[in-house]
């Protein structure tokens, strides 16, 4: 009987977690370069409406996905301009973007409430995808799920194995040193911010295109904030973020099944676990100097000023 529950449970977990994966991985890159972007929630939600709107208008999934990414990126551009070129406070700017993004997306989405869209095409490998159980699980997902896995792999490779990934990490670690060596801290950070925005947009687009193919005001419901927690929880490592996303996303599923299995913890208390876990991770990491140095970019949140 339990086995009957696992496959459907996993399927639900995948849909619940994919959006988080996108946002968290994008934010890891941003934070690794030293920028704290509290605006991811806003970028996510504009990605949701951007993707959905294009999906309804053109009925083309590819264009819709692109639109989602671009919407997030546009908001990220505003963030980048304000924090990198006008030296505005990163915390305040991020919050402003979230408020703006939620409101703006609701404004745009006003006309799209109640509309629907055919959804994203699912992978269809004859023979494999139709296999009951595992087949559907591994080979029958929609394209964004696979993209999310691919992004985790790519970003891991990028940060650890490429020269540019190393430069990004250097900029986040010590922007003064990076500058004296000759790297343009501002352009590198801007690129990372734009990437993070695009990823957040993709995460949002996943919600409106695949998770529930429709638009509802503020449909991200705080997932962006969870993704921020996730980044810290994962110690800024893409693979940990990937599994963490599945863990966090899975908590809701666990709740439903827990009650079915007779576990008597109130669902809200279970829902608190990811946040409490994040706080614990934060404390542990702030204490152990070496662990902190290894993972948290030392310049996180500090603005960079070229002197002269």
């Amino acid at each position: 009987m339990i086995i009957d529950l696992i496959i459907p449970a996993f399927l639900t977990i995948i849909t619940a977690s994919t959006a988080l994966v996108f946002v968290a991985i994008g934010e890891i890159v941003v934070e690794k370069s030293g920028v704290l972007n509290l605006g991811v929630e806003g970028m996510m939600v504009v990605g949701a409406i951007g993707g959905f709107a294009i999906a309804v208008i053109t009925d083309d999934p590819t264009l819709a996905i692109l639109a989602g990414a671009l919407s997030g990126m546009t908001l990220a551009l505003i963030f980048g301009l304000l924090t990198l070129y006008l030296y505005s406070n990163q915390v305040a700017t991020g919050l402003a973007l979230t408020l703006f993004g939620i409101g703006f997306s609701a404004l745009l989405g006003h006309k799209f409430v109640g509309l629907t869209f055919s959804g994203l095409p699912k992978l269809n490998i004859p023979g494999l995808s139709n296999m009951p159980g595992i087949g559907q699980l591994i080979f029958g997902q929609d394209i964004l799920v696979y993209l999310s896995i691919l992004s985790a792999i790519t970003v891991t490779w990028f940060l650890d194995r490429t020269r540019w990934g190393m430069i990004v990490r250097a900029v986040g670690e010590n922007h003064d040193s990076a500058h004296s060596i000759g790297f343009s801290v501002t352009s590198i950070r801007l690129s990372c911010i734009l990437f993070g925005g695009a990823m957040a947009g993709l995460g949002g687009a996943y919600l409106s295109l695949a998770y529930t193919p429709m638009w509802v005001e503020n449909m991200t419901a705080g997932r962006g904030w969870i993704a921020l927690a996730l980044v810290v929880f994962a110690s800024w490592r893409p693979w940990r973020a990937f599994f963490g996303a599945y863990l966090f996303g899975g908590i809701t599923i666990i709740q439903l099944y827990a009650q079915g299995l007779g576990v008597d913890v109130p669902s809200q208390i279970l829902s608190m676990l990811p946040y409490l876990a994040t706080i614990i991770v934060l404390v542990v990491m702030s204490r152990e100097d070496s662990r902190l140095r290894l993972n948290a970019p030392a310049c996180l949140g500090k603005n960079f000023h070229t002197s002269g």
Partner: protein, 513 residues
């Protein structure tokens, strides 16, 4: 055999507003030569080196590199030409590995897959042990410097510039470094070695160019000189004999420091070791030294910004105060004037009267149940301005609106009018116009007439010799025993500042001629 100089500078001049940093400087370095650039702070060494490495342009003069007239437009070009530079402050990334740090500092072409082997080869060849896989935050300062050196060596330089390289090294690490430099020299690499440490220059360098106040004093061969003679050239012979009146200082210790050991809280800081000294009532003790030898740490330890490990290591009139916080120290009569006017001694964006309150929050009874007696503070402020001749239209003006000299007078006034028993000041007249500087010095002398003990930490030897009763020198975190100002010469001071005399044999200072 090639006898073209590797590097030749002719008539290099560079002016900043109000000061000539380099005045008609000539320099010649041959291939394989280890050439020292010697001088105090402000002598013009860094300006010159910035010109060579392409960080700055000069106003006039020329640079000839391997026989060709060249203009170095930026550091990238300098590196391409074959000039490598190891700065005093490293550009490293703690959370990254050694090999990643090196890869970041060199062109991407060089940083190919074979980098690890190249690093191992170079470190073996030049005696600079480095493990490419270690994280930088686990390395000692000496090991970190090796990363910078290896970074340079990977680019096959024909000249290496080292800026005060040994200020952060242990004696053993210094030996290792020297071995590497000598090896490079035999391979034909020129080395420009910037330092103020006389013995090291004598041990290592073939030639030395001595600079003072932006000009080249002379170029000499260290092995034909003594540390004394080099010190003399570095300090200049024209020190004005101080106009001092005879003063008998009664031995009544006001401030006693015993076996003070302090760990620096700054990166690139200097730890203080076994500091011992006494300042008597009515006396001015001057601590001379080139910046970066522990002065900041000494100030912080005395002011209470860093607490002492043992409370008895600092005593004021026999009260152990090592564990006292700054305001507790002020309550028993201490006053402090830090080096940085704006940002440390005063808040730039706050008004003068608020800044007056900054160091008098507990002592002067300006608080009424926690509420500030604004009128009293303002009256106090006006008194400071009047008594110390501070030129400002309004006590509401913010501190950063005052000129350097005026602000410094104000800060001193603020401390002096609190009637301190002991006042500690670091660089009291740095960046201050002559008139204000004279006024500040006079007010310090006046304080001693009231029995106040004064400790001045400064790089300005003229000033120290003018007003101090006794002098001591700080070098690499250690203090030389204080001697009467009349009984020491500038030459001897220069040697102490250059680290020549070993402190444990301090009795011998009279024997050093």
């Amino acid at each position: 055999m090639l006898t073209i100089p590797r590097l030749q500078l002719c008539g290099v001049t560079k002016r900043y507003p109000g000061v000539i940093a380099n005045n008609n400087v000539n320099l010649k370095i041959m291939p394989g030569e280890i050439h020292a650039l010697l001088g105090e702070n402000g002598a013009g060494k860094s300006t010159l080196v910035k010109y060579i490495y392409g960080i700055q342009k000069a106003d006039s003069g020329s640079l000839v590199w391997c026989g060709k007239n060249t203009k170095v437009t930026n550091p990238k070009m300098a590196r391409k030409m074959g000039i490598g530079m190891v700065f005093q402050h490293f550009s490293l990334f703690d959370a990254l590995r050694v090999k990643e740090n090196i890869a970041l500092g060199i062109s991407s072409k060089l940083a190919n897959f074979d980098l690890e082997n190249k690093i191992i080869n170079i470190s073996k060849r030049y005696g600079l042990p480095l493990d490419p896989d270690r994280y930088v935050y686990t390395l000692s300062v000496g090991e970190r410097q090796r990363i910078e050196v290896v970074r340079c060596l990977l680019q096959n330089p024909s000249m290496l510039i080292m800026d005060e390289p040994t200020s952060v090294l242990t004696p053993q690490e210094v030996e290792l470094l020297f071995r590497t430099l000598r090896q490079l020299s035999t391979e034909g690499v020129s080395i420009l070695y910037i330092s103020h440490k006389l013995q090291e220059i004598k041990d290592l360098c073939h030639t030395a160019t001595i600079m003072r106040m932006g000009e080249v004093v002379t170029t000499c061969k260290p092995d034909q000189e003594t540390p004394q003679s080099m010190a003399e050239m570095m300090m200049g012979k024209n020190l004005i004999a101080p106009k001092r009146f005879e003063k008998t200082i009664k031995k009544h210790p006001a401030l006693v420091i015993n076996d003070l050991n302090v760990k620096s809280d700054q990166s690139y800081g200097t730890d203080l070791k076994d500091i011992n000294f006494t300042v008597n009532r009515g006396e001015i003790l001057g601590v001379a030294g080139i910046a970066g030898n522990g002065q900041k740490e000494l100030m912080a330890a005395l002011s209470g910004e860093i607490l002492a490990e043992s409370s008895i290591s600092i005593k004021v009139e026999n009260i152990p105060i090592g564990a006292f916080y700054p305001n507790q120290r002020r309550d028993i009569g201490m006053a402090f004037v830090p080096e940085e006017r704006l940002g440390h001694a005063a808040v730039p964006m706050m008004s003068l009267w608020e800044n007056a309150f900054l160091s008098s929050t507990s002592k002067m009874n300006f608080l009424n149940n926690g509420f500030i007696r604004v009128e009293s503070v303002k009256a106090y402020t006006r008194e400071i301005i009047k008594k110390f001749g501070v030129k400002t239209p309004n006590i509401q003006n913010i501190a950063s609106s005052l000129s350097g000299g005026n602000l410094q007078k104000y800060i001193f006034g603020r401390e002096i009018l609190q009637n301190p028993r002991i006042i500690v000041a670091i660089q009291p007249t740095w960046g201050v116009d002559a008139g204000s500087a004279a006024a500040i010095r006079q007010s310090l002398i006046d304080l001693t007439a009231k029995g106040c003990a004064v400790l001045i930490i400064s790089q300005d030897l003229e000033e120290l010799m003018e007003i101090s009763d006794r002098l001591s020198v700080i070098f690499e975190g250690q203090l030389s025993p204080a001697v009467k100002t009349e009984s020491i010469t500038a030459k001897q001071l220069g040697m102490l500042m250059g680290g020549v005399t070993v402190f444990s044999e301090m009795g011998a200072i009279e024997n050093v001629c």
